[in-house]
């Protein structure tokens, strides 16, 4: 029984090795690395866009339920009565965006306008190359610089947003791009600083190394995820907040606030280019969630080290955690209102940044006191050091926001 589950766990790896074994006899020497790379890339390109497609339907249905509507429930298999609860919707949407006219504004900078969606999608896909999806399943293992690669590639999406906004020659596009860049630059700092705690504790930038550092077993059954520490818990919440802002999700979706600036930086995009923006945005969110899972939620590790849980393949754990986080983001989108620009900036610089800095100190203390101090005292001190600034900063922030005064036209 256990043997079977172990084989299932490693099935993608063994499949690749088997295919490579056959390819090495047939193909010339220089083609083998290319084939190996293609075999690693294919599952990513198959799984995550499919996940995006399903997420669009689930999001519309979920938001519909939150808003007391039904949501899409019509499209199923064509020419039959089978409706699949509306899950054929994404195929219809995809076909629609493929055959729609591609409108480019006459004043637009044609070359940059064309390059922007490509320049956005490629870095987003590149970030997936260092994420460990399962045991022994990481497309590109960078033992020295894994996390740095993720952030370096992720940072280059800002420029694509600028390219899209500027080249459209539309004031709403430019406003959306400026908002998006200001927001991404500001929230990148808390994002990196909250991840830095994990790097400090694990002592490595390699993402597989970070997952393995959470593999110790506590109390005989519990994996020592970084979430189960005071700094890890707070760090994860800070990370999620910054990740939502980085991926332009509600409540931080000002760059594409429909009621203010139409669709933000991709206002002037239509047809398939618009679909690429949409895809890149969701893939960016998935990558951020994947990084959060790797850093704080034990990556592909199961939460407890007991038999039926350890039988489930590691990649199923990863995808399960990813789905849970996506549902959380959909729920947040249905619940929270959008912030104002000044509130957004104030929140990043006056609340998130100090909290991440304090969290770094707490992580360092937790590391230094390991073994010497009783665990209850460590928890108490860590919790107090985080809760008191939270209360003080939160109070100051709320006071600075102030009561909104509504002025109506007479």
């Amino acid at each position: 029984m256990a043997e079977f589950f172990k084989a299932l766990d490693q099935f993608p790896v063994t499949l690749k090795h088997w295919l490579m074994g056959h390819a090495s006899g047939v193909l010339p020497e220089w083609a083998l690395p290319l084939v190996s790379a293609a075999l690693s890339i294919t599952p990513i390109l198959a799984v995550f866009p499919l996940m995006f497609a399903l997420t669009t339907v689930i999001e519309r249905k979920g938001l519909g339920r939150i808003q007391n509507r039904i949501g899409p429930n019509r499209v199923g298999i064509p020419l039959t009565d089978i409706r699949l609860w509306g899950f054929g919707q994404f195929i219809a949407d995809g076909i629609k965006s493929l055959i729609k006219e591609d409108v480019v504004p006459r004043a637009a900078d044609k070359v940059v306008h064309f390059l922007a969606p490509i320049a956005l999608l490629i870095p987003v896909l590149l970030t997936y190359s260092v994420l460990p999806f399962g045991r022994n399943m990481v497309p590109l293992d960078l033992p020295q610089t894994g996390l740095l690669f993720f952030f370096a590639v992720g940072a280059s999406t800002e420029l694509s947003v600028f390219m899209a906004g500027w080249s459209s020659r539309n004031k709403y596009s430019l406003l959306g791009a400026m908002r998006a860049i200001a927001q991404m630059v500001s929230y990148e700092i808390p994002l990196i600083l909250s991840s830095l705690t994990v790097v400090m504790m694990a002592g490595t930038l390699s993402l597989t190394g970070i997952v393995e550092s959470q593999a110790d077993v506590r109390f005989g059954f519990l994996h020592s995820w970084h979430l189960f520490t005071p700094w890890g818990f707070v760090g994860f919440l800070l990370f999620l907040t910054a990740a939502a802002a980085e991926a332009n999700r509600t409540p931080f979706d000002l760059p594409e606030a429909e009621s203010e600036i139409i669709a933000g930086y991709f206002t002037e995009y239509s047809g398939f280019k618009f679909a690429i923006f949409f895809l890149a945005e969701y893939l960016g969110l998935f990558a951020m969630c994947g990084l959060g899972i790797t850093l704080f939620l034990g990556g592909w590790l199961s939460p407890v080290n007991i038999a039926p849980f350890t039988w489930i393949p590691s990649w199923c754990w990863f995808l399960g955690k990813l789905s849970a986080l996506i549902v959380l983001f959909i729920w947040l989108r249905g619940t929270l209102p959008r912030l104002r620009t000044d509130q957004l900036m104030g929140f990043a610089w006056k609340f998130l940044l100090p909290m991440t800095l304090i969290n770094l100190v707490v992580a360092a203390l937790w590391h230094m006191s390991g073994g010497a101090v009783h665990v209850v005292i460590r928890w108490g001190v860590g919790f107090a050091m985080l809760a008191i600034p939270y209360w003080l900063l939160g109070r100051g922030f709320e006071a600075s926001v102030g009561k909104r005064i509504y002025r109506y036209a007479n």
């Binding site: 610089t145 740095l148 940072a155």
Partner: protein
């Protein structure tokens, strides 16, 4: 000279020429980003992974954004037909002279023929330890400089309350 090197070097130099010669300044900034990325590729070829990714993070992610913002904030009000360069031939001949001198020096020196030793084992851990021991003074000075630069940039660019 290997093929990957030739491709990356050609891309880097070509985009650098574009960055300095195009008329539209946003196009210049975008070509400059390509140069930065090409340089990061050269660093990766030289087994300097950490510096290469830092280059992308700092230059592509931050410095280019700064430049782009500055270009948009100082939207030129000057007439379009004005030439974008001043005394181009003097500047270019100085640059060509400098290049010829450097290239001759590089080609004449025996150091240039040197081939690389087997790739050294570079770990980020030893890099960090060195920063905290041997290089701790430069590191502290650097922290001071960055703080001063940040404060300076904010104060310089802050709009004066009085006046206007």
């Amino acid at each position: 000279m290997t093929l990957p090197f030739a491709i990356i070097a050609g891309l880097t130099v070509g985009s650098a020429i574009a960055a300095m010669s195009l008329r539209n300044m946003v196009h210049c900034a975008l070509s400059l980003v390509l140069t930065f990325a090409g340089l990061a590729g050269l660093y990766l070829q030289l087994n300097a992974e950490f510096v290469g990714f830092t280059q992308i993070l700092v230059y592509v992610g931050a410095v280019s954004i700064l430049i782009v913002f500055a270009i948009l904030l100082t939207r030129s009000t000057e007439p379009k037909d004005e030439p974008s360069t001043v005394t181009p031939w003097a500047g270019i001949s100085v640059a060509v002279g400098a290049f010829l001198t450097m290239a001759l020096a590089v080609l004449a020196s025996p150091v240039g023929k040197r081939l690389a030793a087997p790739a050294p084992e570079v770990s980020v851990k030893t890099l960090g330890q060195k920063l905290m021991t041997d290089y701790v003074l430069p590191l502290e000075v650097m922290a001071l400089l960055l703080t001063a630069a940040m404060l300076g940039a904010v104060i310089i660019a802050m709009r004066e309350k009085e006046g206007k």
